[in-house]
């Protein structure tokens, strides 16, 4: 009985086209070998696909339509979707810089300035603190924990705390400034001072990450390089520029890239501290405003801003990484 079955199976397989059998065999071997790898990856693929890829594709599609609150499908009102595909009109409108579409170029410039200033302070202060904390001293661990703390506090908690500090009439900052006879500006009003305030808050929030990353980088530089440089006659400043900075380069380049991307899209600090203030408006907050407020919630323009932000960051990351690579090849 058993023998017959096997015989039949063998008989059945043989007449099939040779290539087909071989291919099936290869697929079977491949699955036998790697099925668990695919099984392990599958949940992540599903989640990432559902939460990132699909919404992204939908967003890109919206940029070619005139979708807004008035023409989107609304099951509550029993209304069908009746938005139209408008081609590149949204892009043309936004890129024209028309104030009705958010003065794109001005806001982009402000976003770049905001990112540049914030990351420069993040890096500078983070490096300074990392250098201080990298030398042996008492209570070093305590200092490290205290300096990492701003990072551990949720951004919205810090944002509200800072709002109170910046309050023009009752805030601690103006009280301090006033008590030493300095001017006490209206920090969070409709003026460029608000931008200074949000930059201060964002710097405070972003320094711990830079500090921790750079501290790790500093510790990876072998101590005998400093000793060799000292014997070679390098002053402390020369040791910093000739050993420390080149030694930190791999870490620096990564954290600066990350810092720029995060700051470029730093929504909570600006929105929670100043709300909808044209003086602190950056691309991401404008996209939010456009999406959730206004006479008609303009999903199409908001999506267009989203895609433009993504494009700017992609171009930046590409150019940045290429520049790094060519420098490394030297």
């Amino acid at each position: 009985m058993v023998a017959t079955t096997t015989g039949a199976a063998a008989e059945h397989r043989r007449p099939g086209p040779r290539g087909g059998t071989e291919r099936r065999g290869r697929v079977r071997r491949f699955l036998d070998r790697y099925w668990y790898a695919y099984a392990l990856v599958l949940p992540v693929v599903v989640v990432v696909g559902g939460l990132v890829i699909l919404p992204l594709a939908q967003g890109v599609f919206f940029t070619f339509t005139n979708i807004n609150e008035g023409n989107i499908a609304n099951p509550v009102l029993g209304r069908e979707a009746d938005y139209d595909v408008v081609g590149l009109a949204n892009y043309l409108n936004v890129l024209s810089g028309d104030p009705a579409y958010g003065s794109f170029w001005g806001v982009l410039l402000r976003t770049l300035v905001w990112s540049g200033i914030c990351v420069a302070f993040h890096y500078g202060i983070g490096l300074g603190l990392a250098l201080l904390l990298n030398r042996p001293m008492r209570f070093r661990t305590l200092y490290r924990i205290l300096l990492i703390l701003p990072w551990a506090v949720p951004a919205f908690v810090s944002a509200f705390a800072w709002r109170y500090l910046f309050n023009a009439d009752y805030g601690l900052i103006n009280w301090l400034l006033g008590s030493v006879g300095l001017p006490t500006p209206v920090w969070l009003g409709q003026s460029p001072v608000a931008m200074v305030a949000v930059i201060i808050v964002n710097v405070w929030l972003g320094v711990p990450f830079m500090m921790v990353a750079l501290l790790g980088g500093l510790q990876s530089i072998p101590g005998d390089l400093y000793e060799a440089a000292e014997i070679d006659g390098a002053t402390p400043w020369q040791r910093f520029t000739q050993i420390t900075l080149p030694g930190l380069r791999p870490v620096s380049s990564t954290v600066i890239l990350l810092g720029v991307i995060w700051t470029f899209n730093m929504f909570p600090v600006i929105y929670l501290i100043t709300g909808q203030n044209p003086h602190t408006r950056i691309l991401i907050t404008y996209a939010f405003e456009r999406f959730f407020s206004g006479a008609t919630r303009d999903y199409a323009i908001a999506s267009t801003y989203g895609v433009l932000i993504l494009s700017v960051l992609l171009v930046f990351a590409g150019v940045y990484l290429r520049a790094l690579r060519s420098q490394e090849a030297d």
């Binding site: 000793e227 014997i231 070679d232 050993i243 080149p246």
Partner: protein, 369 residues
């Protein structure tokens, strides 16, 4: 060019009790000399070198280079160059930049730097690699770059901290000879730290043996070998190590199993203890026929090295099995597990030490050097 002297120099690490890493080191290194500091790990040899480099504080005493007191001078003011165990090459600089870095910091004109780097590179066969980064080099090449960096400086003193320990055995032997030849050619005073006594014996004009921060002996390799100042040096210098046993002393001499070695009257007379530390090198022992007086050695292991063989075995002395190593002819080694008869080649080829202090007890044999 300069001599170096340590004057009762100590490095004391704070603690309870404080650790005296280098303890009252007194050492004179002559101009142009190749001095090797050798000792087991923790002996303070590297610390002593780093004190000379200015990388460690000198807590007591003083250090002079070329007659100048440099005890509190920072490293850059000492006119020294150091080769590190890890080489410590600057990873982001090319070989040429690494070698010229010290000159660049001293604002030496570019053309001069280039010429000096080229000259050193030629000396070390590094010319084709001048534009490479250290990570693109092999271990041996990196080692040469580290040497080159020191040579380009033309310092008064070279300091080398185990520069060969990251090389494989064959390359190490080769590089050992190259460094010794280079030093002879340049004639620069060199202090070289190693834990390898073979390196020490083959490279140094003189060798200083350290243990627990204390200088044990500083002498020529031959004198260290033939007249070790104490039992530590006797056991440390020489490979395989000297057979060192503390044995009973009678009026006839030292008692080793069936063998009684007559000792010089001068030693026995001046020595009041009942025991004595008796040392004999493997090559001073020989296997002999059963009819001669000797120790019964049970063979545990035979290392055949071609021309020679080292026989490791144990001898029953006063009830305990003591291990002995005997050098013998490589063509007819005894088999493992057999018992052989061992005796001295020459009753004068023995080293005697005080059983407690370990200090050498002089035999009548005249020193050779």
């Amino acid at each position: 060019m300069a001599g170096v002297s340590y004057v009762k120099a100590s490095r004391v690490y704070p603690g309870n009790p404080p650790v005296r890493a280098v303890d009252q080191l007194d050492l004179e290194v002559n101009d142009g000399e190749f001095l090797v500091l050798v000792g087991p790990s923790g002996s303070g040899k590297s610390t002593a070198l780093r004190m000379l480099a200015g990388l460690e504080d000198v807590d007591e005493g003083a250090i002079h280079i070329g007659g100048n007191d440099v005890t509190h001078t920072p490293p850059k003011g000492r006119d020294i160059a150091m080769v590190f165990q890890s080489y410590a090459l600057y990873p982001h600089m090319t070989v040429g930049e690494n070698m010229g870095f010290a000159l660049k910091l001293r604002r030496v004109p570019k053309e001069t730097i280039k010429a000096k780097v080229a000259e050193a590179a030629k000396m070390l066969d590094l010319t084709p690699y001048l534009d490479r980064k250290p990570k693109a080099l092999s271990g041996g090449q990196r080692q040469r770059v580290a040497m080159g960096r020191a040579i380009v400086r033309e310092p008064a003193v070279f300091l080398m901290d185990e520069p060969l320990s990251n090389l494989d055995a064959k390359l190490r032997v080769e590089t050992r000879a190259n460094i010794a030849a280079l030093q002879a050619r340049l004639g620069t005073t060199t202090i070289y730290v190693t834990h390898d006594q073979v390196e020490a014996q083959t490279m140094g004009h003189r060798v200083a043996v350290l243990k627990d921060g204390l200088l044990q002996q500083c002498d020529t390799p031959r004198n260290l070998y033939e007249r070790p100042a104490n039992s530590f040096v006797a056991g440390f210098i020489g490979s395989p190590a000297m057979n060192l046993k503390t044995v009973a002393l009678t009026s006839e001499g030292a008692v080793l199993d069936g063998l009684t070695v007559p000792l010089p009257r001068s030693v026995v007379a001046g020595h009041d203890a009942k025991t004595i530390t008796f040392g004999v090198r493997p090559e001073s022992l020989r296997l002999t026929g059963g009819d001669e007086v000797g120790m019964k050695l049970t063979v545990d292991l035979v290392e055949e090295l071609g021309a020679d063989a080292y026989v490791y075995g144990s001898v029953d002395i006063g009830g305990t099995a003591e291990r002995f190593i005997v050098r013998t002819d490589g063509r007819t080694p005894p088999s493992i597990g057999s018992t052989v008869n061992v005796t001295l080649r020459d009753d004068n080829e023995v080293h005697l030490f005080h059983p407690e202090s370990g200090a050498r007890l002089e035999t009548t044999k005249a020193p050779t050097a």
